[in-house]
Symmetry: C2
Subunit: 265 residues, 2 copies
Amino acid sequence: MKAKQRLLERQKAISSRLCVGLDTEISKIPPFLQGSESPITTFNASIIESTSMHASAYKINTAFYEQYGEHGWQALKNTISMIPNEVFTIADAKRADIGNTSSAYARAIFDDLNCDAITVNPYMGYDSLAPFLEREDRMVIILALTSNPGSKDFQRLISEGKPLYQHVIERVLSWNSSASIGFVIGATHPDELSMIRSYAPDEMLLIPGIGAQGGDIDAIMKANADGPVMINVSRAIQYAGDSEDFGEKAYEAAQFYKERIGFNT
Amino acid sequence: MKAKQRLLERQKAISSRLCVGLDTEISKIPPFLQGSESPITTFNASIIESTSMHASAYKINTAFYEQYGEHGWQALKNTISMIPNEVFTIADAKRADIGNTSSAYARAIFDDLNCDAITVNPYMGYDSLAPFLEREDRMVIILALTSNPGSKDFQRLISEGKPLYQHVIERVLSWNSSASIGFVIGATHPDELSMIRSYAPDEMLLIPGIGAQGGDIDAIMKANADGPVMINVSRAIQYAGDSEDFGEKAYEAAQFYKERIGFNT
């Protein structure tokens, strides 16, 4: 089954378009867990157990694991293996390189870590994404208009009357792809999202930037015009509690965001 | 001492602007080593021993290590620790993400792996690079015009009369940076390199794409007009031999490329 179809079925089964971010840093987890033997894996196990009934997907940002070296990479692998099969998994890795190098990244993320999807950076063009796009049972989520302030520096440059991020979306959609396609659009840009839905109405969008980054759920859901989306929330769920009841707090936060996002079929 | 100064002193000390790529894949190393206990570390130890006298820098592409999971990350760390202190080390990681995430990548590459430099992707703009640019003893090498065919897809889009890669170079040079700055310019674009040297005459350039990718050394050195450069060669040195004498073959290939590149003070 195509990755997009698997994701949509999961969303329908639990009436949720919430994506839960697992961007775990030892300094931010409840203090009583920080001294345990495998603090990241232990913490993530509880978060997954407490939130998976509300999560259409988990997004794991590789940076937070890489900072702990080979132990972090092991925790990353452990974390992904603990996620129930029916929940979609996204490696938020923002990779891309020349062809033979991107092939190695595809093996790392799709084969070694066995994620359903990866985020990729379009700057290096078609052949840098081809090794990901070849994988028919996976999803490739391309950065288009990101949630951060620096999204204005290059992504909004106008060429031939259109911003760079629109060139990215249109060009990617013109390429052959066996994989399912998605785009990252930051929740901080509802006006642009409205425009994007006019030329990409049915594309899956991964929307980060809710919560700690200040995106407004109502504005973004209105602009989205019922297109397929995953709304990511990371810190506001993961770190909702900082004592023994952190799992319960995460459960409540996930439920809150799932309901705020809403679900229409 | 600033990273750029350290690199220039190394280049002067051995009259070499060669950067040796360590993009190790188990399937490509000599067959007699493939079954050894730590094939990547064992192979890289020999390549480093055989080429460090000719190498101003080593460039290690993280993708090739990540494909082997936590063992690959351990091999990556082992490899960097085996490189003599006086040789410059570049993590060719092409990272960048929102600010707090890029901070984690900076810790991974500069602190856990202790590399002198990292390659980064500019698509997400200033705040995605700031955590790297803050590090005054390191070098941040920004993708500008890459060596691959896909470099035409977005990097050459014209905005306000200039290609995107020129916007990247000029914008980056306008930012405050404590770190030394460098840019990636593919060896496959000598005409553009000439132009780039007209507005960035003294910037350090990392030039990949010689050898397997078809870049022409003479054309590129002429276009460079004696600006500071590292010319990277990976496969043509690493895989120069495939039997017991692979170290000797790598030594000879490194010497050949060092001399072909030449050195003028």
